[in-house]
Structure formats: structure tokens, C-alpha cells
């Protein structure tokens, strides 16, 4: 009996040591994530400099690359899902940051493989190879869409009337793709529901802007006739 309990104890100690190591790395990543997010949130300000935001936020990427490399060195490949809960959310928030940066820079949604390239992560080739999985990317997409809904409103206040059109195209496409998934009433199902409301908000903005533009063009025609 004693031997068995000693073995248990050793396993426990080993586990907790591993967890501590992972937590240290994750804390570092989270710090970078947060300062990354502050700079990105400046995109909502009325007078923002787009180039400055892109330049400053790109400085974080090499650091992130290093930390992720060390994170997946400490977690052995077979045990990815053992510590899944501890790194899932931080990872999805970095994904979100890079998605948003991609939108500010190129007005385009980065695919999963592109983000993995930027961060230097390995994508599993077969289904059974568990690396970073698609689940995290999809989680970050939800947050990205709600942030775009905010950006839509703010870009109009800044005087950019084309942005809402682009955003509505992208988000409606993402929403229609999400409908292809079979979701039970789990986290995913709820998030898809909230995505619907974000889309509704964006459509309202687009409607308002479109209404304004048609009124303006009509009034111009009338004045020309006179």
C-alpha cells in the first residue's frame, strides 16, 4: 500500500511542477496580449493613425513567437489536451489580436493556417494529431466579429462610410459558414446566437448609412434639375 501511495505522490508532484511551468509561460503571453490589445483598441478612437498602430503592434509578434515555441516545448505532444484548459483562452485571445491586426492592415480575415504561420505554430496533419486545433480559431472569430460590430459604428463617427459595407459582407459570410456546423446547445451554439445579434447591429448601421447616401444623391439630382 505504502508503495502505491508513494507513486501517487510522485506523479502528483510531477504534474504540479509541469503545471507551474506552463502557468509561468502563459502569464508572460497574457502580459503581451494585453499590451497588444491596448494598441489595437486605439483603432476605435476618432483620430487614429493606422500605420502607427500596425507598426507598434507588429513589434509584439516575435516575442509571442518565442513564448509559444517554449510553451509547446514544455507540453509534450501527447499531453496537449491534458493542459488544454490552461492555455485555450490565452491562445484564442492572441489569435483574436492577430485577426484584428490583419483587418486593420489589409481589411481581410486571416485564415487559420495564416495565423499559424505568423506565430510559427505547427498544424496537425491528420485528424488524430492534436496540436493547436481549429476550436481555438473559431472561438477567436466570435470575439473578432463583435469587435468589428464596434468598429463599424466608430468608423462612421470618424467619417469612413465605406467600412460598414466591407464589415457586413465579411461578418454575414462568417455567420452563414457557422450555420453549417452541427452544434448542440453548448458554448458554440450560444456564441453563434450572439453572433446573430452582432450581425443585426452591423446591418442597422449599413442601413442608416445607405439611407443617408440615397437621400444625398437624390437631393443632388433635384438641385441639378432646378
Amino acid at each position: 500500500m505504502d508503495e502505491i501511495f508513494k507513486k501517487f505522490e510522485q506523479i502528483q508532484i510531477k504534474n504540479s511542477n509541469q503545471k507551474e511551468e506552463i502557468h509561468k509561460i502563459i502569464e508572460n503571453i497574457e502580459k503581451i496580449n494585453k499590451s497588444f490589445q491596448i494598441i489595437l483598441s486605439k483603432a476605435h478612437f476618432k483620430n487614429h493613425d493606422k500605420n502607427e498602430i500596425v507598426q507598434k503592434s507588429k513589434e509584439f509578434i516575435p516575442e509571442l513567437k518565442q513564448h509559444y515555441k517554449s510553451l509547446f516545448e514544455t507540453i509534450p505532444k501527447e499531453y496537449h489536451h491534458k493542459f488544454y484548459d490552461s492555455w485555450k483562452f490565452t491562445c484564442s485571445s492572441t489569435f483574436f489580436n492577430i485577426l484584428f491586426l490583419g483587418w486593420i492592415e489589409n481589411e481581410r480575415v486571416y485564415l487559420f493556417s495564416e495565423i499559424a504561420d505568423i506565430l510559427g505554430l505547427e498544424i496537425p496533419e491528420k485528424e488524430n494529431d492534436l496540436g493547436i486545433d481549429v476550436h481555438i480559431y473559431l472561438l477567436s472569430l466570435f470575439k473578432f466579429c463583435s469587435e468589428l460590430a464596434r468598429l463599424c459604428v466608430n468608423s462612421v463617427t470618424a467619417g469612413n462610410y465605406e467600412m460598414p459595407w466591407k464589415i457586413s459582407l465579411v461578418v454575414s459570410e462568417i455567420y452563414s459558414r457557422f450555420k453549417l456546423l452541427n452544434t448542440n446547445n453548448d458554448v458554440f451554439g450560444k456564441k453563434i446566437n450572439s453572433l446573430k445579434f452582432d450581425l443585426k447591429k452591423i446591418e442597422e448601421v449599413v442601413f442608416d448609412v445607405h439611407k443617408l447616401q440615397t437621400i444625398q444623391s437624390l437631393s443632388q439630382k433635384i438641385t441639378k434639375k432646378d
Partner: protein, 254 residues
């Protein structure tokens, strides 16, 4: 046995002292919260002018006196401060909200630093952050009121301030233990102002400014709409003049 009785009598006096002190501090704290709430409502009530700030300054000094009572109670030693810090924090949060709001209206700028006015530092970082988070809700109400009066500039200024505060709050680590409810409330109030600014921008494109001032209260659905009718009597100079003229006419006819 006599020894034990003596010890317990000592304990009793000690207990009573602590309880009495806590009661006195609690009463002062309640006063602080009530007065600072009143100050905030007072600042909301009218649009800012010089006389109003003088009166607000008086009210602020009243709060300072109450806080001085707490400071005097606590000033005896360090340990004492930590014992009662939990009871104070509610009042301090409210006080910070009121002070920051007052200075924001007075200088039209967000003033992050507060000058120390008391001997020992009564203000915790946690309470300060709580007060700052509550301030955003107050600013939101202020800007909606301002729009209802036809002032389209303030929401844009307020939005800038709130976005700055929000981006500061995002950066806090989890160990700071800020109330997550407050963060979400702050987010919703920020989104409200963003929506208002968006509507103003659209309306400004659509209408000339003269018409805008009249129609804005209808475009923005807020409770402030109901208040405007009451307020218009006091603020609209034309309305006031016409009212006075009417009264004069009536008196002449009579």
C-alpha cells in the same frame, strides 16, 4: 478563577472599544456615500455654470470634513487602519466617483490624479479603480443629457475619455481583481456613447445644423427626453423671454 475574570474584563473593554470605533467609522462612511451621491445628482441637475461650481465646492468640503472624521479615528496606528479598511472602502469609492466627476465638469478634462488631503493615505488602489469605473456611467448620463440640450460636442469629448479609461482597464492583470461586473457595465455605457456619436454624425450629414438642434432629442431615445421639456423652461432664453412677454401682456390686459 479571579485571574480569568480579570482577563475577560479586559477583553470586554477591548471588544467594546473596537465595536464603538467601527460604529463611528461606519456612520461617517454612510455620510460620505450619501453626500457624494448627492453631489453627483446635484452636478447632473443643471448645466454647469460658475455659481453651480461654487456651491459644489461647498458640498465637496462637507464630504472632506466627514472623511477627516474617519482619518482622525484611524490615524492612531497602522494596524488599526488595516482592521477598518474594509468598512471604509464603499464610501471612498463613491467619494472618488464624485470628485473625478466634479473635476471633469470643471476643467473639461479627465483628471486622473487626486491631491492628498489627509494625513494617512485612505485611498486604496482597488477603491480608486472602482470609483473610476463608476465614473464612466456618470459621464454617459451627462453626455446624453447634453445631447438632449442640443450640445453635440460633449459626447465626442466624453467618448474620448471613456475609451481611454476602458483601454486602461483592459490592461489590468487578473490579479488586480477588479469587479468584472463593473467592466461589463463600463463596456455597455461606452457602446451607448459610441452609438450616440454615430447618430450625431449621420444626422449632421443629413440635416443642416439649425434643424438638428431641434430634432436630436427625438432621434436619440433616452429618458433624458422627458427631462428636456422641464429643463427647457430654465435654459432656453427665447422661451423664457416669450414667457415673460406673455405674462406682461396678460398683466397689461388685466
Amino acid at each position: 478563577m479571579e485571574n480569568i475574570e480579570g482577563i475577560f474584563e479586559n477583553y470586554r473593554t477591548e471588544f467594546d472599544e473596537i465595536n464603538n470605533k467601527r460604529n463611528r467609522i461606519d456612520i461617517a462612511r454612510k455620510d460620505v456615500t450619501i453626500f457624494s451621491k448627492r453631489l453627483i445628482f446635484f452636478l447632473h441637475r443643471d448645466m454647469p455654470n460658475q455659481n453651480k461650481f461654487k456651491e459644489a465646492q461647498k458640498k465637496l468640503e462637507q464630504i472632506h470634513q466627514k472623511i477627516q472624521i474617519i482619518a482622525d479615528e484611524i490615524s492612531t496606528d497602522e494596524e488599526c487602519f488595516w482592521r477598518y479598511s474594509f468598512t471604509i472602502s464603499w464610501g471612498i469609492e463613491e467619494y472618488i466617483e464624485a470628485v473625478l466627476f466634479y473635476y471633469y465638469l470643471k476643467d473639461n478634462k479627465l483628471k486622473i490624479k487626486i491631491r492628498k488631503k489627509f494625513k494617512n493615505n485612505l485611498i486604496f488602489p482597488k477603491d480608486y479603480l472602482g470609483g473610476l469605473a463608476d465614473l464612466t456611467g456618470e459621464l454617459m448620463r451627462y453626455s446624453t443629457d447634453a445631447v438632449a440640450h442640443g450640445d453635440t460636442q460633449t459626447p465626442i469629448k466624453v467618448l474620448e475619455a471613456i475609451q481611454q479609461i476602458y483601454s486602461l482597464f483592459i490592461s489590468l492583470p487578473r490579479s488586480a481583481k477588479v469587479d468584472m461586473n463593473k467592466l461589463s457595465v463600463m463596456e455597455t455605457s461606452m457602446k451607448k456613447i459610441e452609438n450616440i456619436c454615430f447618430k450625431i454624425q449621420l444626422a449632421q450629414e443629413e440635416f443642416p445644423k439649425v434643424i438638428l438642434d431641434e430634432t436630436l432629442p427625438q432621434i436619440i431615445p433616452q429618458k433624458a427626453k422627458i427631462l428636456t421639456k422641464k429643463r427647457k423652461n430654465n435654459y432656453d432664453p427665447q422661451f423664457k423671454q416669450s414667457k415673460e412677454q406673455k405674462e406682461q401682456k396678460e398683466s397689461k390686459e388685466n
